[in-house]
Amino acid sequence: VRRAGDVATVGLLGASVASALGAIIIAMAFLPEDPPAFSTVLSSSSVACFVAALWSLRQRRLAWRTFFAVLRGVAVAAAIYAGFGILVILRSALTGPQLVGAVTVVVLLTVEIPALIAFSVARHQPAD
C-alpha cells in the first residue's frame, strides 16, 4: 500500500513539474502573442502539486527527516537558479501578464522541483 502511495505521490509531483514546463513551452511557442491555455496548464500544475502535498501528508510511514533535509538543500539550490531565471526574465522584453506568468512559473518550479526530488529520495529510506 505504501509503495502504491509513493508512486502516486511521485507521479503527481512529476505531473506538476511537467505541467509547469509545458506552460513554459506553450508561452515560448506563441511569443510575442499571449499564449492560449497558459493559465489552465499552470493551474493544473498548482493543483497537482497541492494534491500531492495532501496525499503525502496522509502517509505516516515516510522518512520525513530525510525528506526535509533534502528539501532544504535542494530548495537553496533552486532559489539560486530561480534568481537567475527571474533576472533574465526581468531583462527580457516581457511585460504585463506575460511577465507575471513567467515569474509565476519560475516560483512554482522553485517549490515543485525540491518537493519532487526530496520525496523521490525519501521513499527509498527507512521510515522515521
Binding site: 511537467a18 511557442a29 522518512a63 530525510t66 537567475f84 529520495v121 521510515a127
Partner: protein
Amino acid sequence: MDATAQNASYPDTPFVPPGALAVAAAGLAVLLAALLSSNVWALNFVHVSAGALWTAIDLFMGFVIGPILARSEIPVRVAMAKRLMPQMLVIMPTVVLITVIAGWQLASQIGILTLPYPLRWWVVSSYVVVATMAMLAYTILEPANITVLIELRKARPHGALIDRMMRRFARAAGVIGLLQLAILVIMTRLRFP
C-alpha cells in the same frame, strides 16, 4: 539496524566538497557577468562552453563510466561513487543552469525567440527536448545521486540500493547525452537552415 539508528548515522560533514562549491560559484559569477554585460559574444561563449561540457559529461557518464561500473566489483563501485557523486551533485546542475540561462538571454537578444514559423519549430522542438532532459534529471538523475550520497554517509550503507541507483544514474545520463545530440542537431539546423 533500525530506521532511527540508520538515519541518526548521518555525519555532520558537508554533502559536497567545498572546492566543488567554489568552482560552481566561479561558474555562476562568469554567467552573471555575461548576463549583466549583455555582450552577445560573451553570452555565446558561456552558452556554447557550458553546453559542450554538459554534453561531454553526460555522454562520458552514460557510455564510458556506466559500462565500466556495471562490470566492476561492488566495493569498486562504492569507492567510485564516494568520489564521483558529490562532484556530480554540484557540477551538473551548475553546468545546466549556465547553459540554459545564457542560451535564453542570447536567443532573446538575437531574436531567436520570435523567429517566424516554420523555422521556429526548431526552437520549439529544442524546448521540448530540454524539458524532457529536465524531467529525467528531476525524476531519476538527482534523486539517484542524492540517494547514493545519503547511503554512503551511513555506518552500514545499503550496497544493493547504491548499486541500483548508480546504474539508474548512468543510464539516465546516457539518455540525456543522446538528447543532447538532438539539441546539437537542432542548434546547427538553426544556424544553417
